[in-house]
Symmetry: C2
Subunit: 244 residues, 2 copies
DNA sequence: ACTTTTTCCGACGACACGTCGATAATTGAT
DNA sequence: ATCAATTATCGACGTGTCGTCGGAAAAAGT
């Protein structure tokens, strides 16, 4: 006998289904087109049921963001376990992020929305706590790699920068690039930017080189590292993403 | 006699006033708290009048973003005119962005919102054209500096990167960092990131060093450049921002 | 002074969020 | 198996917002 009754398990499962339907709606129709009434209609549950799961529309969107971050943490964890120099492991995190965005754009999208609209006011405090926790998980995964690099001497912190700052720099660059792609793809193609995704990798390497994080691009065959990461850490996802 | 009648000028002026009221509301109450009815109430105009200026709520928010970009272009233009090496002029752009975000956070905020919510569907096509134009202005200002650096030999494009890519890298890093500050400041302080704004400058320098854009940080006194930029290009704004 | 055109108004319909009392289903005890 | 107690579900309702539209008011023109 499990800790939860049959009914309660059913309810828990339902939450996932509600989120799936909601996410599809969010992606197809935007935030404004995400309607609680229509979720009720499509799932053939009543609104009351939905409001037993989520205290408000904002709470629901936040739940999507939490799901997204959980998935990301999963990716990051696998990436962080890659066998290699710290900088290679950091590269693996970058690959993880890239695959994550490629394979789950709807998850990423929900994160962006919740971030922007400053919806936090109307979100239940437990959900907000979940969000915070997952975010810190992500941050922590990256941070520990930076620490490892410092410990083994591959990275000497430049003046005025702490470990956490390095994380912020990389995070900003990635986050900025991907949200740019999502929101201003039009402007990019207009300006002849054809392969923004591969671009991100190159930019990250430039940034790490700028920090003086050894081995520098000139001293190491990161193309090879890249292939190893894809093959050893994300073989399944590669196929899904259509990467060779 | 001007080309516009008195009445028409009055109407044009009114648009600015409407946007001011709306922006204040947006910043104080978030996107959800921005209500067309309340704008009408506060300005003591009818809703009909407001809908003569803006075809929808989204159109109004887009108008705010356009205003914001116009202001940014102004800042960027002044920065681009700084006398010095291309990399110094690029640094001036960074300073411009920093001051812009510091002094007009509400403008910046409206940009973020319009970007995220994929509101574009309901925006009038003229307004969308305005937005596109201003964005390209910004992009162009930065791009021409990159070109200048290439022309004078200060920058040799790394393999796999075009001029436009360099712009994208810097843009992403800045955009990402500032939106991170706006949306996740809490997470930053939790992780001991104390001075994110000065951090951005350091990260940008690292990125430019990574591109091999001469003169590198080690070869030039950019602290001095920074002081010169503040004093020569943005003396007024410095005081307002409370920078020494 | 009177007509035409422009501008302005605010009631109205449609729709969305979130609530709540009534209703149905499930559980547990006898 | 029966019935009471608890739990889960429903959907109509109140409130508020968006965007429209026909008529009132003001301005321009003659």
């Amino acid at each position: 006998m499990s800790t939860l009754s049959r009914k309660q398990r059913e309810i828990q499962q339902r939450e996932g289904m509600l989120l799936d339907v909601a996410r599809k709606m969010l992606v197809e129709q935007g935030y404004a087109g995400l309607s609680m009434d229509r979720i009720a209609e499509l799932t053939e549950y009543s609104k009351g049921v939905i409001y037993q799961h989520f205290s408000s529309k904002e709470d629901l969107v936040t739940a999507m963001a939490v799901q997204s971050l959980q998935r990301r943490v999963e990716y990051f964890s696998r990436a962080a376990a890659f066998q290699g120099r710290p900088r290679e492991r950091m590269m693996a995190i970058g690959v993880a992020e890239e695959l994550f965005v490629r394979l789950h754009p709807h998850y990423f999208h929900s994160e962006l929305i919740i971030k922007m609209a400053s919806l936090k006011e109307r979100v239940s405090s437990e959900r907000l706590e979940d969000l915070r926790k997952e975010q810190n998980q992500c941050f922590g995964r990256v941070r520990s790699i930076v620490q490892a690099a410092i410990d083994c001497g591959d990275l000497v912190l430049p003046p005025k920068l702490e470990q956490a700052d390095i994380v912020v720099g990389l995070w900003s660059l990635n986050m900025g690039a991907y949200s740019l792609m999502h929101t201003d793809r039009e402007m990019l193609v207009e300006n002849g930017v054809t392969a923004p995704l591969t671009g991100v990798r190159v930019h990250c390497h430039a940034l790490l080189d700028g920090y003086g994080w050894k081995p520098l691009v000139a001293e190491w065959d990161y193309e090879n590292s890249y292939r190893r990461i894809l093959k050893e850490v994300f073989p399944e996802e590669c196929l899904q993403a259509g990467l060779e």
